[in-house]
């Protein structure tokens, strides 16, 4: 029987395999950031251990860095300590660090691919759940906790029970690919399979609806695999993948021969079997807007908010969850999504802060001003994205529309730096999680695509971007 792409990568990384036990797998790349690593380095010191492969370990600071003027000192003392601690740890253990002043600094999942560090067929880990992003390149990319970070630093391996392969086929063609984006595809998937729908699996996204996407759009899809509970998300590499990674700063010297070895091998065989399947047809899907407090609580922009009964389909826990979500979000069932007014707009995060996201959003706002009651910001995913966008003049388009144009980092996606919502504020956000308090205590998050966020900024409420000319 043939093998899935996941099984091929898995099998080529086995170090120890014993029946009824987890498998020890080799890790090709370890990405490190300031929040989930300090205790891991402390653990190494306490046990007199070294980092086994500092050459395969890359660090940056992204989660709690300020996105304002980088020449000023960091006011938040605890953030400052975490940032200095990472600097010290990288120095002590010989790890390459892209620090706060590096032109390569940025969200770890944005810089990995951008620098050619993320490669097809490899295993990648990072102490961050959105590591799944790198799966867009056909890498098996896993988010891990701090104990596993320490284990990988010490041994370049980790123990893992083999996840099950899950096929998600995305069929059809979007009628308006500028208005209906990768974010809308992945939110539609999660709306259908639920936030636990991928638990214990590695999703492989396949079909015309996936191969049609650019690499940056594919990253948006794989990024949110974790929001469906999956261990990882994967897309088989193709010419778009190989072209994207060619001539990056850290692209291997023998790249063309690697591409030759990947071409025929890194794909699921025709007779391979998946343990689970789901098909999404995208011909007619609409832009998506989340209304609740998990990414599965999402509907079309043209819909009204479902009642807890409609949403839960008889499941009492789901019903209670929906009631609590509506209460937290201060929304009523039956309200049209387009009637929801917003206070803030956040274009950023590892889901949607790459160059293409900013280009698409800029088309919506060009020559316009944001609604006077809205505060809006763009936080590029990396300093390199920021520089490229500035070379294209995108910064001026955003600034002229009264957006704030910031330095790179995770920012308002998770409320660890000063960029947070005030209690009760409602935000159209291009990030990945609408959990209670995620963007700041009492803040209310609606997950949308960059174009939907930009349009909401202009109008002060959600609008259907299919009605705009975005070509």
């Amino acid at each position: 029987m043939g093998k899935t792409l996941f099984e091929k990568i898995w099998e080529s990384h086995i170090v120890v395999e014993k029946q009824n036990n987890p498998t020890l797998i080799y890790i090709d790349r370890h990405l490190v950031h300031e929040v989930t690593s300090p205790q891991a380095f402390d653990g190494l010191r306490q046990n007199n251990r070294k980092v086994r492969r500092p050459d395969l370990t890359i660090a940056t600071m992204d989660h709690n860095v300020p996105t304002t003027d980088r020449s000023l000192p960091i006011l938040d003392q605890t953030s400052s300590v975490q940032i200095k601690t990472l600097e010290k740890n990288c120095k002590d253990f010989g790890i390459k660090l892209f620090d706060i002043n590096s032109p390569n600094q940025g969200i770890v999942h944005v810089i990995g691919p951008q620098l050619g560090i993320t490669l097809p067929g490899t295993t990648i880990v990072c102490g961050d759940s959105h590591t799944s992003t790198h799966g867009a390149f056909g890498a098996l990319a896993l988010g891990i906790g701090t104990s596993d970070v320490e284990h990988v630093l010490a041994s370049q391996t980790m123990w893992l029970e083999k996840p099950k392969p899950f096929e998600i086929r995305v069929e059809g063609k979007r009628k308006n690919p500028h208005a209906v984006t990768a974010k809308d595809i992945v939110l539609s998937i999660i709306k259908n399979i639920g936030t636990g729908g991928g638990t214990g699996t590695v999703i492989e996204y396949r079909g015309e609806g996936i191969t049609d996407l650019s690499m940056e759009q594919r990253m948006t899809i794989c990024n949110m695999s974790i929001e469906a509970g999956a261990r990882a998300g994967l897309i088989a590499p193709d010419e778009k993948t190989f072209d994207y990674l060619r001539d990056r700063e850290y692209t291997p010297k023998n790249y063309e021969s690697l591409v030759d070895s990947w071409k025929d091998h890194l794909k699921t065989d025709n007779d391979a079997k998946f343990e689970k399947e789901f098909i999404l047809h995208i011909d007619d899907i609409a832009p998506q807007v989340s209304w609740g407090t998990n990414p599965g609580m999402t509907c079309d922009v043209t819909d009204s908010i479902p009642s807890p009964d409609e949403f839960s389909k008889g499941d009492p826990n789901q019903k209670r969850g929906a009631e609590k979500a509506l209460d937290y979000m201060a929304l009523k069932a039956g309200t049209l999504i387009e009637d929801i007014k917003i206070d803030r707009v956040f274009i950023g995060s590892c889901t949607n802060a790459r160059l293409e996201d900013l280009i698409e959003a800029s088309k919506v706002i060009k020559g316009q001003k944001i609604s006077p009651h809205v505060k809006a910001m763009v936080v590029p995913g990396s300093q390199m994205v920021k520089k490229q966008a500035e070379e294209m003049g995108l910064d001026k388009i955003f600034i002229n529309a009264n957006f704030e144009w910031r330095e790179a980092g995770c920012s308002m996606c998770l409320g660890m730096n000063p960029d947070i919502l005030s209690p009760g504020e409602r935000c159209a956000s291009t990030s990945n999680r609408n959990f209670e308090g995620r963007q700041g205590t009492g803040g209310r998050t609606h997950l949308v695509s960059p174009v939907m966020a930009a349009a909401a900024a202009i109008h002060g409420h959600f609008v259907d971007v299919r009605e705009m000319d975005l070509s």
Binding site: N20, N21, P22, V35, T36, P38, Q39, G43, N47, H63, N64, D76, T78, S79, V81, Q82, G127, D128, S129, T131, G143, I144, G145, T146, S147, D148, E150, H151, W159, E161, T195, G196, T199, G200, I226, G229, R231, N294, G296, N317, Q318, R320, G321, K324, L414, G415, M416, I420, R433, F435, E436, G437, R438, G440, T441
Partner: protein, 163 residues
């Protein structure tokens, strides 16, 4: 293991409500614990007692890979979380550091156990006893390796070669 139940009768308790992002900068676990569950239940810190258990629905611990989530619960006194299912990174983090027992339960236990009930858990026979209501439920057994890691006191104390 004996303790009282704090019940959150809903699915998808996420890591951001277990420990909000703003506290991930705290390295003192005792201080971290004072913010456990703050995003969902501001009274948690005042009501939790050493040895308590949390009971919840499906997909407990979904979201971030922050190990701070099981650490904050553990340092609040929580010895086990009983849930219909767990998000895998939370489950793994809980076991890796032996912070608390992630116990998968069936619907009967979820429905039968109420807030405040005193229960005892015996993992050697996969049994949960509700002392308050005099009921007994089965828990899903830990896989062999998970059981061994927990018994050893976490990933770094477990030595596979000694098997």
């Amino acid at each position: 293991m004996k303790g009282n139940i704090i019940k959150y009768a809903r699915d998808n308790i996420d890591t951001d409500v277990i420990i909000p992002g703003t506290y991930l900068k705290i390295h003192d676990y005792a201080e971290l614990a004072t913010h456990a569950m703050e995003g969902l239940d501001p009274d948690f810190h005042s009501k939790v007692k050493e040895g308590d258990f949390i009971l919840s629905g499906k997909n407990f611990g979904c979201g971030s890979s922050r190990e701070h989530a099981p650490i904050a619960l553990s340092h609040s006194g929580i010895k086990a979380v009983l849930a219909l299912s767990f998000a895998r990174i939370f489950y793994r983090n809980a076991v890796d550091g032996a912070f608390l027992l992630p116990i998968e339960i069936e619907q009967d236990a979820y429905d039968g156990i109420s807030e405040g009930d005193e229960i005892s858990i015996d993992v050697s026979i996969n049994e949960i006893k509700n002392i308050t209501k005099n009921q007994t439920y089965k828990m899903k057994p830990f896989s062999e390796i998970i059981g061994k890691i927990i018994a050893a006191g976490g990933l770094f104390k477990y030595k596979p070669d000694q098997d």
